[in-house]
Symmetry: C2
Subunit: 112 residues, 2 copies
DNA sequence: CAGACATATGCTCCGATAGGAATATATCGC
DNA sequence: GCGATATATTCCTATCGGAGCATATGTCTG
């Protein structure tokens, strides 16, 4: 089975997964949301299904797809050792910003 | 510039990044550790460098490569919405295991 | 059954890319 | 300078995967 890394290298597939992260969707829903030709959506779904990243259930003439997040844990795990890097960076960035703009009277941020 | 997702789709590149996560290394170090031909390592390093995932400094006749983790934050951010899925799963798994094997006298696990 | 709608599959073309082997560039010690 | 070591680049080839379009399969309504 293909690695989850290879699967999510494709932008349309990431978009599909992101949509399914919030809710189950039919092929037509995805087609509309992503403005992709239907065969293209179906093909990406097939790849995702075979990699275990989604599963489908039948609902009348449509098929509803939903996330199967397990394979993404491989990515999550691989990413772990790098977290310490950007956490210190975020800290450094925060310190930097604090120096530029010393934390003044607590109040809510203005809308932009 | 290529998306970080496309870059880390390649297993050798992931291996390089993982090695660099713990320490700076020369091309020769990587070549040995990964058992890859040297031109192959250099090519992958070029791709990584152009994507901003590593940077190098000169040290005599060698070049030492180190991580630049910023582009990986794109992956981290994309992954965020899926965390809730496997966190509830981990919870469910824990509850399941607790039921199978009720948390008894605290002690260290045996070696296998 | 027909005809409409939803989804899946087959096929061809094309571009991107990894691998391998040879070679080029750079820097060291002498 | 020379030879040795470390790294980068070039060229070639084979492969893979996505785009696009046509078509097949499946399921509903009447």
């Amino acid at each position: 089975m293909e690695s989850a890394f290879a699967i999510i290298a494709e932008p349309s597939r990431r978009a599909i997964l992101s949509l399914l992260a919030s809710a189950e969707r039919s092929v037509g829903d995805l087609e509309q949301a992503l403005r992709l030709p239907q065969p293209s959506v179906s093909k990406h779904l097939r790849v995702l299904r075979e990699a275990g990243l989604v599963e489908s259930r039948v609902d009348g003439q449509r098929r509803l797809y939903r996330i199967r997040p397990e394979p993404l844990m491989e990515v999550e795990a691989w990413l772990a050792p790098f977290r310490r890097y950007w956490s210190v960076q975020v800290d450094a960035l925060e310190r930097h910003l604090d120096r530029m703009n010393p934390p003044p009277p607590r109040r809510k941020a203005k809308k932009r």
